[in-house]
Structures are given as structure tokens and as C-alpha cells.
Symmetry: C2
Subunit: 263 residues, 2 copies
């Protein structure tokens, strides 16, 4: 704006970066908490701390939405809550179905976080005939046979899959055929969907494995640190660093012998 750029940025005009979109709910949560405490304004520094990001990132993120702050002051909490809600599409009501009412599905059905923010559990669906009619979270479970009509009767466009892995793809296909275009998948399997359908996945086991990777690293460093710590004191991290930088054997970036066991 200071710059007199009058030509359009051509190919990237209204698009908010995906990384930013993924953080908006975080900001919204922090803002909602402030709002409940009747805090009127907040600085990028404070809000960033509350959301667990750094302030430069937050300001950059907000800059994609527009200029919602006041220089020298900060952001108006209520106003931002509204703007972000609107950006995320939370000013409307999203009916959601949950398919697969096992332990996890039931937990999801009972989860309060849904209702609190624009999402409404419209139906619970399970393939087990014995479950049909049983109440879960105050709602009767319906049978998979009726999936299509449930979707269309309720205008559902978001589906949650919490079935066993083996059933997920088939359920996914029926959901999509019935008109669902966004899917949150808890089943530990890759779903294939046509273009235009969004899938996000949540996989417990994957998250734990990522933690284990880093945990293992730390353990490795500790061992190195311990070994180093028996005698010399301070070199701790430096030593650890050197140790796992090349100690690992196998074929590193510059090819040497594959130390461990082949198949």
C-alpha cells in the first residue's frame, strides 16, 4: 500500500496460506478465552504467547486476513473473534455425522468441543444392527443402511470416520457418493477420494511414533552425555552432538558399510 502497486499479484490474490489456515483455530481458541475474561484488546505478543506461536508469525498470519489491528495498541478481541470465526466459516452451523460408534466414535460423540463451535452432531451411524436404536451421547445410533438418506436429509457435508481400518474406504465412498465433501478420518488407513473432497486424518499411533523418534534421539544423546559426563563436565551438548552426528554407522550421506542386519 505504501508502494503504489496497482497491478494485481496475478496468481495469488485471495488465497490464505494453508499453514495460516491451520493456525486460525488456535488463535480463535486463545481469543475466545480472552473474550470470556472480558479482555478488550491484546497485543500480537500476548496473543502469540497464548496460542503457542511467535508474534511475527501471528502478525503475518493476520496480515493475510486484512488489517485488523491498531498500531501502537493491538487487536480488539471481540472483533478478531468475529473475523476469524467468519473466515473459518464458523458463523454457520455445520451438521456432522460420525460413522463407526466404537470406543472412539462414542468418545467423539460425547466430546463437547464439537457443539461449542458451530458443529452439530447430526447423526451417529454404525454397521452393527445390535447398536441400532441404542442411545450414545443422548442420541440413537442409526444403521449404516440409512447412511445415504441421513446425509441428504440433514444436508451433511462433513463426515467423521471412526470405523475399523477395513471398513473405512467403503464408508468413505458411500459418504462421498451421498454428498459429503469433507472427511475427518480416524481410521488408520489411507483414503482415496475424488478431487474436490478434502480429507484430514488423525492417527494416534503415528503421533506416538513421531514422539518415539525424538525420544530415541534424546536417549541416544543421554547415553553419549553420560559417557562423556563420567569425566569431563561441561561439554555435554557438544559431545552429544558429535556423537549422533556420525556415530550411527550404516550408509550415511557419504556411503560406507551398512553396519546392521540386512533382512
Amino acid at each position: 500500500m505504501a508502494t503504489g502497486r496497482t497491478h494485481r499479484p496475478a496468481t495469488r490474490s485471495r488465497g490464505i496460506p494453508e499453514a495460516t489456515v491451520a493456525r486460525l483455530p488456535l488463535y480463535l481458541r486463545a481469543l475466545t478465552a480472552l473474550s470470556e475474561r472480558s479482555v478488550p484488546t491484546v497485543s500480537s505478543e500476548e496473543l502469540a504467547a497464548a496460542a503457542g506461536v511467535n508474534s511475527a508469525k501471528l502478525r503475518k498470519d493476520f496480515s493475510y486476513l486484512g488489517s485488523y489491528g491498531t498500531r501502537g495498541v493491538g487487536y480488539d478481541v471481540e472483533y478478531l473473534v468475529y473475523q476469524i470465526s467468519r473466515e473459518l466459516g464458523l458463523t454457520q452451523d455445520w451438521p456432522v455425522v460420525i460413522v463407526g460408534i466404537g470406543n472412539l466414535g462414542a468418545a467423539l460423540a460425547n466430546y463437547g468441543g464439537f457443539a461449542s463451535r458451530g458443529f452439530r452432531v447430526a447423526a451417529l451411524i454404525d454397521a452393527d444392527p445390535a447398536m441400532a436404536g441404542q442411545p450414545v451421547a443422548g442420541m440413537p445410533v442409526q444403521h449404516t443402511d440409512d447412511l445415504e438418506s441421513i446425509i441428504s436429509d440433514n444436508g451433511v457435508s462433513i463426515g467423521v470416520i471412526s470405523t475399523p481400518a477395513g471398513a473405512a474406504q467403503q464408508v468413505c465412498e458411500r459418504l462421498v457418493a451421498a454428498g459429503v465433501t469433507s472427511i475427518l478420518n480416524f481410521a488408520p488407513t489411507v483414503l482415496s477420494v475424488p478431487d474436490g473432497v478434502d480429507v484430514r486424518k488423525v492417527d494416534l499411533s503415528i503421533e506416538l511414533q513421531i514422539l518415539a523418534f525424538h525420544e530415541q534421539r534424546k536417549a541416544g544423546e543421554d547415553v553419549a552425555a553420560e559417557a562423556a559426563a563420567v569425566v569431563p563436565p561441561a561439554a555435554r551438548t557438544v559431545a552429544a552432538d558429535a556423537a549422533d552426528t556420525e556415530g550411527n554407522g550404516r550408509k550415511g550421506p557419504d556411503g560406507d558399510v551398512p553396519a546392521v542386519m540386512p533382512a
Copy 2:
């Protein structure tokens, strides 16, 4: 290796990119499935399809681990399973505690995916005295009072938090003080932890909000198309915008008219 580079790449030697680490569990899952079907080898193309990524990315990812494939042939399934497992630290056993045995905690306790891959639920912990001793997933729930001794007696370094948001930070601090250095957080709140402690978070509501954002876009496009086909073109959103934006006069990136979507 073909290149005769003998000097070190300096600052990035043994580090596997975080994005790659996050995909290793995916590859591992696909490989495990192949292994169970006794498939001996697999090409990057096939494996990539099974894991839901593209083959160039997969090959690049594997290149950070070493040269585990055979040109003209593909990858040995068993060998890769072993290498990735080792890289992720899954060749050892990770005792895990779950704190907060509500609906979600119980579902996690019952989740088979834990045990299947190196993780062992060592204890279930809850603050409710009425739950103490009650069996969940074949295991007695223990009281929070004993958290510290449970952690140290079992050598737990990974903790799962599935408490209400209000309790999470405090539980986190006790876990960390007791020796936990990796945390998987299901509570919808930001945890602050000291350096050296890893936190990963899973938030249902956030995932749904991200879906809603994209869903809204899709709907918006449809509406815009319809509207454009009927009466006047763009004025719709501009009016809406002016209405809720009030004094602020939201500036688009270049101060030009926000053509289609409500910001």
C-alpha cells in the same frame, strides 16, 4: 557418494527432516501390510500409492535414511520395515501412561494401535477417586496421587494427556517433573514445557475447523457461480462486508475490491 565430496555438509549431517520423520510411520504402515501379504519387494511407485504420497517424495525421504533400494528392482519389504522401525525407535518397547480416563482416555486405552507397535500402556491415571481401582481396558485405573511413582517405577518417558483442558498444564508439569520428556496432548489447550520436552497435540475441534474453512470455500464458489448466473455480479459480499466491518474499512492486500468471497 558419486560426487567426491569429502568435506562434511557442516550443519546438516545426520538430521532427518521433520517432514520426513512425520511420514515414516505412514510408510511403515503400508510396508507392514505388504509384509503380511508376503510381498517380497515393492517399487517406490507402488509403495507411494499405498502410503498416499507421490513417489518422488518417497524416494527423497528414503534417501535421508540411506540407500536401501535396488535400482531396476525396488525395495525389499522386510528390510525396509526393519530399517524404518529402527529409525523410529520402535525396536524397543515404550511404556506409556494415559492421564485422564474419561471417554477419550478410555477409548485410547482400548485402542489396539498402541500395543501393535512398540507401545505398551503401562498405567491409566485419573484424578477421580471413584475411578481408582475400576478396570478400564482390563487395567485398574490408578489415582493421580501416585503419578510420580508410577512414572519412575515404570521408566515411562511418554505421556498421553486426555484430561479436561483446565487440568492439562498441571498434569503436564507433574509428568515432566517426574521424568516424562514426550507428551501427546489431547486437551484443547497450549502446554508450556521446558526445553528438551516434545509435545504433539491432537485437537478434534481444530481439524474440523480447518475442514470447515475449505468447505465454506467450496460452498462460496458454488454460490458465487449461481449468483453470477442470476442477477447482479459481485455486490453481494461487498455489502455483507460493509455491514459487519463497521468503521474499520477492512483493507484487502492491495486495497482493491474483494471480488468474490467474503474475505
